[in-house]
Amino acid sequence: MSKIKCKCGHENPFGTVLCEKCGRPLTEEAKQSEVVDMRYEGSARRSQTYKRSIIDKIWNFFSSVKIGVSIIIAVLATSAIGTLFPQKFYVPVQTPEDLLAYYERLYGFIGTLYYKLGFYDMYNSWWFKVLIGMLGTSIIIASVDRVFPLYKSLKRQRTKRHPSFMKRQRIYGEGTALTPDLSLEKAEEKLKEMKYNVKKEDGAVLAEKNRFSRWGPYVNHTGLIIFLFGILLRGIPGFYVDDTMWIREGELRSIPGAPDYYLKSNQFIMEMYTKEEADEVFGKALDRVGSIVKNYQTDVSLYKKKEDGLPGSTDMEFVKDYSIIVNKPLKFDGYNIFQMDYRLNELKSMKMKLIEKETGDSFGEFTIDLDDPKGVYELENGATVNLIGYYADYAGVENGEPVSKSPVPNNPAFIFDMRTPEKPQGEKSFVAIQQTLETEENAYQVKFVSADTRHISGLTIRKDKTLYILLLGGIIFMIGVIQGSYWNHRRIWVQKGNDGNLLVAAHTNKNWFSLKKELESVKDYAGLPKYVDRRDTDIESEQEEGEK
């Protein structure tokens, strides 16, 4: 790796465009150009210095802005593709075959392709994660490669530059001044008044302001990296929980994702607006749709396992009662439990009575708790009903045996053994909803009287320890954006030329108009030579015409 030696004697690293010391153009391209590219102050990007080992090659790959932009485009394109059809998470089927069938049925050939290419679970796919990882890598490496050389060259910059540097600035002027020294002094005074930092050296003035705005992009990148880091932390157990649970009124169960905690639902409440209370606001809507929900609420009790208790133990301590309503979650130990969903009127218990078929005389009523049925129900006048079979979700008979397809009492069925003083050996009957089967004609019958129902609450359990990291990343990102957008790094060079001439040059990273306005007032005050903006074609042509 060879150094580039400038005419002024300074040795610059390989890849330097403008001499670090005097500002002379070093490359052929820069020498021939009329206006030099001031990005990174013409300093060498670190990665340009050498290309030897594999590590350097990888580093150089990620350091390239072209590669960075390509990665961003790839991320944008694939993210967009992922929104075309619903992701796996939102599809109500589970197995791969069902998924394929689902996409095929709804979206035809494109749907099949979508599934085959793995877009159905894109944001969790390994290649999408690799892409995001490459983006992060590119941001870090490209920033590191640029920010240090830029910092160094801005810190080291000389006040006095070589005329060839001045000449290649976008804003440049040259001319005789009657009193060059006085002009310099006055320029300095005016620039200070406009809050420039002014440095002087051997008949040269460098005025600079808002250099910090140059760090905007790097601050912004730091914010992005912190954000990505926060997302990464979500993969560590304990940092991020997003789970759901269904809980019935009266049920006590462990909270998924929150070990050692138990929740009991005391009640689910759904309230509607009444015409009287909401006539003013919702009157018309109420007339149109009938009813509007005012409140979804689950009243719960939170329990915690005792310090030395084992999982499964019923030895737990009460923590608190709480009413979870929408957007008002139950909070404990970093967890939030939100009201998300509900199901109304699941069967809870059934009230039955035993009657004599002929007379319709009743032996009294009994209630079967569908969660915890009892084996024997004692009735009046010496009659008992034995529950010898219970099928919570009756789904027909298989191999001569009634079967239940789930433990949920969606369609309860019972086999009763009815014992009365008349028939002490008992009569058996199978009772399901709207159906009674007897092996032989019975004298007695268990009849359905009424049912009690309960509601089920759908709750979401959330915990996100990364939230503050994401917030911090977001804030830093915004600071970087503001820093780089609302301030501009402006520099004005004024120096004495060879034969009593004055040279003026100026540079900014954006908002040239304001720079020129400021320079104009300095020029008028200090009597500096006329200057031109060589990228502003209108003025250029005007001036050319004027000069002719």
């Binding site: 590590i55 350097d56 994660k129 870090i140 019923t314 010898i388 079967v403």
Partner: protein
């Protein structure tokens, strides 16, 4: 002479940064679960549940023995199918030091009792009323079976129905010798 040193330290710096970034990417790909999921080789967490007769059973009671930990429901057809095999092998293996821990998920005592009676089960059946142990062991499909050796380590996790031969070989795998 400072130059080669500088070059080398730069190379090390770059290597370390790239390595860190690469491992971050790999981590994000392989960290699928947001909660700790039990795996083969992990220590089986202890728990305590009550059986249908009111006796408390703890997993740690069987320290030094193999444990066949089976999660099931009365409504689940494959659970019913494998239950007689488990019963037979329980009889064969319990004297040799392999214990059956049968965990029903939150069903009623009546239902579990009549099931036990119907299948003639002689091993104790505990009921996980709060689904606490199910969550602890991340059990999703039923039946799910864990084989735990005499040191309390999980040797195998089976998330489907088992044949009698499989049950025999599984129980043999946790014989405490």
């Amino acid at each position: 002479m400072a130059k080669p040193d500088k070059k080398r330290s730069r190379l090390i710096f770059r290597g370390v940064v790239l390595l860190l970034l690469a491992s971050a990417i790999l981590f994000s790909i392989f960290s699928k679960d947001k909660v700790k999921v039990l795996e083969v080789g992990d220590k089986a967490p202890d728990f305590e549940l009550v059986d249908t007769e009111g006796n408390v059973h703890r997993l740690s009671d069987f320290k030094g023995q193999g444990v066949f930990l089976n999660f099931w429901g009365t409504w689940c057809p494959p659970c019913k199918k494998e239950m007689p095999y488990i019963e037979d092998q329980y009889k064969a293996f319990s004297k040799k030091g392999v214990h059956v821990m049968s965990v029903n998920i939150a069903e009623s005592k009546l239902k579990v009792d009549s099931f036990r009676e119907q299948y003639g089960l002689t091993f104790p059946v505990v009921i996980d009323k709060t689904r606490d142990v199910r969550d602890l062991y991340n059990v999703v499909p039923l039946p799910t079976t864990f084989l735990i050796d005499k040191d309390g380590k999980i040797v195998k996790i089976i998330k489907q129905e088992m044949s009698e031969e499989e049950i025999i070989s599984l129980m043999e795998s946790v014989l405490p010798q």
